[in-house]
């Protein structure tokens, strides 16, 4: 199995931003330009996550998404502020291949997962889980780690699978933006607990971090954000390193 290497863009339209431990935001560049750059670098997918619209109850910024989609001939996942089947349908029509849902499903209406999976196919429905560690377990958060939900991560992961989600995007509130490695225990636990693909995010600070999480947790994919933004490491560079370490990745 080839582990997917995914470029994750945390977006405050029209910019890609870098959240610092889910708090401050730093502007990195124009979203559509960075998406194209990472596509050319060999990303297996691009994930576009609007990290502000949900929190501020804003609408989805469709024109930015369409502009970004137009540059890509690889799968494009879109998340942030999705609240209805109409939102999802519209996103597919402007070029998204997958939608990434968190807040609305976990806080208000988990049933949207079942409905969306039935209409659009489960492979197109990704559930984003933001996990924060509390003692021996993890709890689901929303809106970039700002809001507690009271739901256990393990239980929620199993529930979204049974409701028809086709994939989980697993983030760690504790590790995100710090570039100091993944929450390996969390990643391993969730990958082993569900039969659907799990893409892990939050923590890639070096090539070794990426290798470590793949070897330890065997995720279907690794989503990388800020590590890519400073041109120190390219996606092709990551793939080459992984290949040299006997980890299968696409060309």
């Amino acid at each position: 199995m080839r582990t997917r290497i995914i470029a994750k863009l945390d977006v405050k339209p029209p910019y890609v931003v870098k959240p610092i431990h889910f708090e401050g935001l730093r502007k990195i560049g124009i979203t559509s330009e960075l998406a194209k750059k990472y596509y050319k670098q060999g990303a297996d997918e691009i994930m576009y996550i609007d990290i502000v619209s949900s929190l501020y109850q804003r609408d989805i910024v469709f024109n930015e998404i369409e502009k970004t989609a137009n540059e890509l001939f690889i799968p494009f996942g879109v998340g942030g502020a999705i609240r209805s089947l109409e939102d999802i349908s519209k996103l597919f029509h402007i070029g998204a291949d997958k939608v990434v849902i968190n807040t609305y499903a976990v806080q208000e209406n988990p049933e949207i997962i079942n409905k969306a999976a039935e209409i659009f196919g489960n492979q197109a429905i990704v559930i984003n889980i933001e996990a924060k560690k509390w003692g021996a377990h993890w709890e689901c958060y929303t809106d970039c780690g700002r809001i507690r939900t009271g739901r256990g991560v393990l239980e929620w992961a199993k529930e979204v699978e049974s409701r028809g989600a086709g994939e989980i995007l697993l983030q760690s509130v504790d590790k995100d933006g710090r570039n100091r490695g993944f929450d390996l225990e969390l990643c391993k636990k969730i990958v082993e607990s569900v039969d659907i693909p799990v893409v892990v995010a939050s923590g890639a600070g070096s090539l070794e971090d990426i290798k470590e999480v793949i070897e330890c947790a065997k995720p279907s994919g690794v989503a990388i954000a800020s590590l890519l933004h400073y041109d120190k490491i390219t996606i092709n560079g990551i793939k080459k390193y992984l290949r040299n370490n006997a980890i299968e990745v696409s060309k």
């Binding site: 080839r2 039935e118 196919g121 086709g166 279907s220």
Partner: protein, 202 residues
């Protein structure tokens, strides 16, 4: 000339946007087919598909596209679910009859690995065709939970975690690919280019 490609637009799930873009990148001219009469304006047909087998067949019927598709002699390329519904029967959300171009059934992927099968993977040519020309060593993007079970019209197989499944089929003017050429970088654009250059009827 034979490079006007009609993309069948049906249902609320469709992602025809990326397919249109990829065909245009391969120098094809596209027409989005929204009504039956448009089938006569095109040389070839692309049948996309997002959603479930059952919904897709229902939508094709509601839009009045079923007969037009069944009766055409123009080259057809089914993509992902669009390939699956070329089969006789589907078993997603109950049992549903397909377009029956190809004697096949569509069943859940049975494999000891994560499903859906998602990501780039290679194809092993079994009985190549013009659409797959020069693409043997390329990788294509897959994103599916069901597979076409067929023994007679296999063009290529793909292995996922020790399990081989049908990744493309062909019978007469009908072609199907389980993967998404529109999401497969240059290799996918090359596949569309092969389809555009097919010497078909129509």
């Amino acid at each position: 000339m034979s490079n006007v490609i009609g993309i069948v637009n049906y249902g609320i799930a469709g992602n025809i946007h990326s397919i249109k873009k990829a065909i245009e990148a391969a120098d094809g001219i596209t027409i989005v087919i929204n009504e039956v009469s448009q089938f006569s304006d095109v040389d070839k047909i692309v049948l996309p598909g997002v959603g479930s087998f059952k919904d897709a067949m229902q939508e094709l019927e509601n839009d009045g596209f079923l007969e037009a598709l069944k009766n055409t002699t123009k080259p057809i390329l089914g993509i992902c679910l669009g390939m699956q519904i070329l089969s006789t029967l589907g078993f997603e959300y109950g049992k549903t009859k397909g377009l029956n171009f190809i004697e096949a059934e569509v069943r859940p992927i049975l494999v000891d690995a994560k499903v859906p099968h998602v990501g780039f993977n290679t194809i092993e040519l079994i009985n190549s065709n013009e659409v797959l020309k020069d693409l043997e060593n390329e990788e294509f993007y897959f994103m599916h939970s069901y597979e076409v079970v067929n023994y007679t019209n296999i063009s290529s197989l793909t292995e996922y975690s020790g399990h081989k499944f049908v990744s493309s089929i062909q019978k007469n003017n009908v072609y199907g690919v389980q993967f998404h050429p529109e999401k497969s970088r240059d290799a996918g654009i090359k596949l569309f280019s092969n389809f555009i250059n097919l010497q078909g009827e129509g």
